[in-house]
């Protein structure tokens, strides 16, 4: 079974984000970048499928040289091969999807995994876009996956419940937290990853469809009032919520 997992290199969720001087991108100074948290579940699922059915897992990332660090993490977790689609230009989800799809078409995997969203842009779009470009079915926000007889049954999260989805293979899946428990890279894996080659390719270049005009900070809250320090303040709180805020 050929498994591909597309991964991204993103600011750590604990990072404070500030806006760069151009007013339309973030200031990367001092920010730690990590493997996108949802992609860890995607890598883990591919490794488990490989362990069950044999095959190979290829990790792919589109971006600048810095993405090699994240590809090394995937190698350390146990993927067989890492490919950097090297590109430093500004891309939106549409152009990232086309860049990834171009390479995926060449290698035609049986299963393609993504994290359900990248915690930088938060579009939650690239995985499903890739499926559409490749003419493949997809299941997004997957919590459980069973493969048998060339087909898959996946559970996906919906508001207040779950959907069980049946799909033919090859297919694209996007992983939600809870799909599995991602492994930590072993020391041996980390050492081995250092010397493994990262293949570099150039992705297709196309025009983005969207443009960031400006970035701004969310309106900051005025620090609110501390109403009190014991149970007697409860009635005041309820009164404020009812009469001042009018939310209850």
């Amino acid at each position: 079974m050929k498994l591909a997992v597309c991964i991204n290199h993103v600011p750590d969720t604990a990072a404070k984000i500030s806006i760069a001087g151009d007013g339309k991108s973030i200031d990367k100074t001092g920010i730690t970048f990590v493997l996108n948290p949802y992609d860890e579940f995607a890598i883990e699922e591919c490794l488990r499928l490989k362990e069950k059915y044999t095959g190979e897992v290829i990790a792919i990332s589109l971006g600048g040289d810095a993405h090699k660090e994240t590809l090394r993490k995937a190698l350390a977790m146990g993927v067989d091969k890492a490919v950097l689609l090297k590109d430093d230009s500004r891309r939106d989800s549409y152009t990232v999807a086309h860049g990834l799809a171009g390479y995926l078409k060449e290698i035609s995997p049986d299963i393609i995994f993504f994290g359900k969203q990248s915690v930088d842009v938060d579009d939650a779009a690239v995985g499903t876009m890739v499926a559409e470009i490749l003419g493949l079915p997809s299941v997004s926000v997957v919590l459980k996956l069973d493969i048998s007889n060339g087909a898959a049954i996946a559970e996906r999260e919906i508001e207040g419940g779950k959907e069980k989805v049946q799909t033919t293979l090859p297919a694209v899946f996007t992983a939600q937290k809870g799909l599995n428990e991602p492994r930590y890279p072993s020391l041996k894996g980390i050492m081995a990853a250092k010397s493994k080659p990262i293949e570099e390719k150039v992705p297709v270049a196309i025009q983005p469809k969207t443009e960031i005009i400006t970035m701004h900070r969310p309106p900051s809250k005025k620090s609110g009032k501390i109403l009190g320090t014991d149970v007697t303040t409860v009635s005041e709180l309820v009164k404020l919520l009812h009469e001042e805020a009018k939310v209850i």
Binding site: D92, D120, D123, E132, V139, G161, P208, E211, S223
Partner: protein, 324 residues
């Protein structure tokens, strides 16, 4: 200029987010001298079209057949894009729900259209539509312009105003979109819904608990409070990682980003990745023993006290008011 408002229905009931999508489409269309066409897909959904027509759209298109009873991530986007082409629409709006987030990327590719996902504001500037959407879980907001001929927007639930019925009573137009077997390569075979459970992403009031709740058994008091408020229970990452609550309730950067009208943070200290996910709530109440907890910086009203004392008293007090 034609706008297509894609309606989400479940079990032949319109979702609240659909009212928000229609109303937003109408308000933008009005400013650009456009008209709004609504599209509803499902099985035997024609009756819904009367309700949608009542919201004052210029036309409602109904695509229905038994196999469309449940969602298909292959068939539904095909239908939407075919209708968009037939009607020559320039703007498509969908709710940013599990349904809309799954359809929109496919539409973007099919129609070579730019997508602004999970928007929290749309406004007209000149002849352009400018979308504001959160990035980095809301740590920054970006104003986005779409440069393609067709533009797709998904709207975050609970942020945009929902329209109300004008009382119009006409039927939608049933349109046949031919589908083949391969259009159902992926299809929902079963839906398990926890009855009566409100999702945090859709709730107007959220009562969230953090590690200070000390254990899963103590969330009962938050459930009680949520119930009298008609809201949903949320949780911090620490609580979800400890296995006390399901991930579907997690609020924050690796959970859900929410904007309810009232967010009550109970025994949550307020880590940056949690604050990012909820700070756009209209009103925030923090209840925490630690007066230095960062959550108080974001809260409109705070009580520095033991949650175990405050929450039951708060539930009782609100019950008096709401009678729930």
């Amino acid at each position: 200029m034609k706008f297509l408002a894609v309606i989400e229905q479940r079990d032949n009931k319109l979702k609240k987010s659909s009212f928000e999508v229609i109303n937003t489409a109408q308000s933008i269309a009005q400013q650009l001298n456009g008209e709004v066409i609504a599209l509803v897909i499902g099985n035997k959904v024609q009756d819904l079209s009367r309700e949608i027509q009542g919201l004052g759209v210029s036309k409602t298109i109904v695509v229905q057949q038994p196999r469309l009873e449940k969602y298909s991530s292959t068939a539904y986007p095909k239908i939407i894009s075919e209708v968009a082409k037939q009607e020559q629409v320039s703007v498509i709006l969908l709710p940013a729900t599990a349904f809309g987030k799954d359809c929109a990327p496919r539409l973007a590719i099919k129609l070579e259209a730019g997508l602004a996902a999970d928007c929290i504001s749309l406004k007209v500037e000149g002849s352009e539509i400018l979308a504001t959407r959160p990035m980095y879980a809301g740590k920054v907001l970006a104003d986005i312009k779409i440069n393609s001929a067709i533009k797709i927007f998904t709207l975050r639930p609970n942020v945009f105003a929902a329209g109300s019925s004008t009382g119009a009573q006409s039927d939608g137009e049933v349109v046949d979109i031919p589908l083949t077997e391969s259009d159902f390569a992926s299809i929902v075979v079963e839906t398990s819904q926890i009855t009566g459970k409100l999702d945090v992403a859709e709730a107007n009031i959220i009562v969230s608990g953090g590690r200070g709740m000390k254990g899963p058994e103590n969330f009962k008091m938050l459930e009680d409070l949520a119930q009298v408020l008609g809201g949903a229970v949320g949780a911090s990452r620490a609580v979800v990682d400890a296995g006390w609550r399901p991930h579907s309730e997690q609020v924050g950067q690796t959970g859900k980003t929410v904007s309810p009208s009232l967010y009550i943070a109970v025994a949550i200290s307020g880590a940056i990745q949690h604050l990012a996910g909820m700070s756009s709530s209209k009103y925030i109440v923090a209840i925490n023993k630690d007066k230095d907890a960062p959550i108080f910086q974001s809260a409109d009203y705070g009580i520095v006290a033991d949650a175990f004392e405050i929450v039951p008293a708060l539930t009782k007090e609100i019950q008096k008011l709401t009678g729930r």
